[in-house]
Amino acid sequence: MWALDQPCAPRAGRLFADTPLALLAVLALGAATTWALVELGVLAPHAMHVAGVTAGHGALLATAFAWARVRSGSGVVVVALLGLAASLAALGGFGAFAYLGPPLWVAWLARRGRLAGLGLGAPVSLRSVLTGAVAGAFLSSHLLVSASRTLGVHVRLDHMPEVLAAVGYDVGANVLAAECFFRGALFNRAQRRWSFTVAATLATTSYVVRYLVDPLLPKSIELLVGAVFYLALLGAINCWLLWWSESLVPGLLSALVFFAAYRTLGSG
């Protein structure tokens, strides 16, 4: 028993210890430079999107890796893969398939046991996976029904290439980075210092704020309220899923199902 036969460790270090500040600085600098070059007309406007995806999601993933004590090279690799995927996706066509790069890299690291600190790599039960899928499905169906009844938007299947590209973005960048950082890293660290409620509140609030400052989110008040409502629910559910199943996979699945449903919505 730990309380009996292990020396009582000193209080855990700072919440943001091990953050790869140098890499984050480089990413910020890159994004700022790109923005400046786009403003000057040197680069095409979609370069800003590529830089934003690379810097934003790359920062989240690289920080999550660093907090999980994965070698810094892995963070650089995932940033590079994100940049490549965003660039290829911007070209259109099958470029979005490049978003499979980051999850494959994450899967490879997890298989080698390097992401155990994020809740990836350990076997996960079918029950946990199904619970994650059901949670995502419940939230998605609620979103679809509510959205169609209140905002006048509904499921549209006439823009499948765009939907698939968006789902690819979610798989390779949006959901992967958010779950790895806000649940696998931030919530995981916070729950070692405070109660579940405090940790889940911190992680979920940060998660919601991250989407509120996302330039890709439409800025109408109805959509913002809806985003806060559903993202808060999704964040809290995913915190509980990680806590309950001790794996990030159910949370990843529920978020993927939810975002896939969200991508199918359209007006007209």
């Binding site: 028993m1 009996l4 036969d5 155990a116 809740g119 609620h142 009844r149 209140t150 729950q191 579940f196």
Partner: protein, 487 residues
Amino acid sequence: MAAALAAVTALIALDGAGPASLFRHAYLVPVVVAALRFGAPGGALAAGAAVLLSAPFVLPEIERSGLTPDAAEGLVTFAVLGIVGTLSGALRTRVGRHRRRYETLVALQRALADEATLDVALTRLRAALAGRLGFDDLVLVARDGARLVVAGGDRVVPGSLVARVLDSGIPELVWDAGRDVRSRRAFAAPLVAGGQAIGVLAVERKGEIPAEERAALEALGAHVGLALENARLASRQRLFAAELAEKVKAARQELEELDRAKSTFVAIASHELRTPLTALQGFSELLALRRLPPEEVSRLAGIMRREAKRLGRIVSDLLDLSRIERGLDPALCRIPLAVEPAIVATVDLFRQGTASHPIAITCEPSLPHVDADPDALERILTNLLSNAIKYSPLGSVVRVGGRALGGAVAIEVADAGRGIPAEALGRIFEPYYRAPDAAGTTHGTGIGLAVVKALVEAHGGAVRVESAPVIGTRVTVILPAFHGPVP
């Protein structure tokens, strides 16, 4: 529960009455059932799910027409569901917690009901608590003097959580005990008795140990501490009672033995007194009734004198014994006394009376005088010589001697008799005691050596006995020498 919620939602949708549908009240059924079944989390979750499911009926109404009476009813339904689910769940959780607490206390009392050592009691307690408290691991540690008794582990590592709480007496929570994804909490509460930490109750769980549960564990620690202390006191009391009973039994046996010895003594003393009395009576009658030649009269008078002296000695011994038993020292009149003449005089008396044993006297030259009562010294020597003659074979030599010993004089009387058994050696100075092998073969009251010891100690001296089977017995009396000028 999920199916029930879905069914109610379907009924509301089919009803077409929107947020004012009467079916909305049916949400209360699964919410209350979930609250009663799963407590606060179940009630809150079910209420949340019900609100989520009914929201698509209420919110569009508000968006379309503002806060209409129907929409208001829907909002009230939200509130009612939330309040009912949360409150009934919280009450259910609290009731369950109280029930578990009382059950735990009863189990605790049962575990300590029997007489048991601290190790066994702790193991039983742990078994009783482990199944009820719902933790992954539980350990109980209690102080037993300098030793720590551990139930649920091997030993307490210095610096561990248990060791810290044992030292400080303050409960402590560790948020992250281990490396699991779901954080493992460890909590240790002191076992308190008499205001001091007599041990520690430590628990571990993958997951939360809420503040209310920690408070309950602290209270349980106080209960366990008190129960352990009570068990310890009860055990000590039982031990004390057993010891007392043993002592009472021993004292009773001693009294019974003393009573038996006194009865035996009365019988023996009567016999011992009767013998010289009979002789005196017989010879005096003979002298009174017959006319005897002078030589015969002289012989009979000598016998009567010896028997009278013997009678006098027995009576003196009895008087001394009586004083000893009343806690008084024998009355002494101490003067400077030459040892060798006193020995010679006593030996002469024995030589006149019996020629059965040759008596050899060996005294150091210029032996110092002793500070003693002459009559007491004569009785000491008489008793010792009488015993030596009584318990040694006919014809064997009895040796009497005196020698200087520091500031004292040692007088030794040695015989070549059968010796005193080792088991009897420690008791020969007790009044009325006679060694088992002596009791059936020789006459005696069993008070001679007791009187010798009392007389010697009244002089500030000491007496010791050395005896070996077949070789014989030597009694040494040490009396203080007289240091002043001899008159």
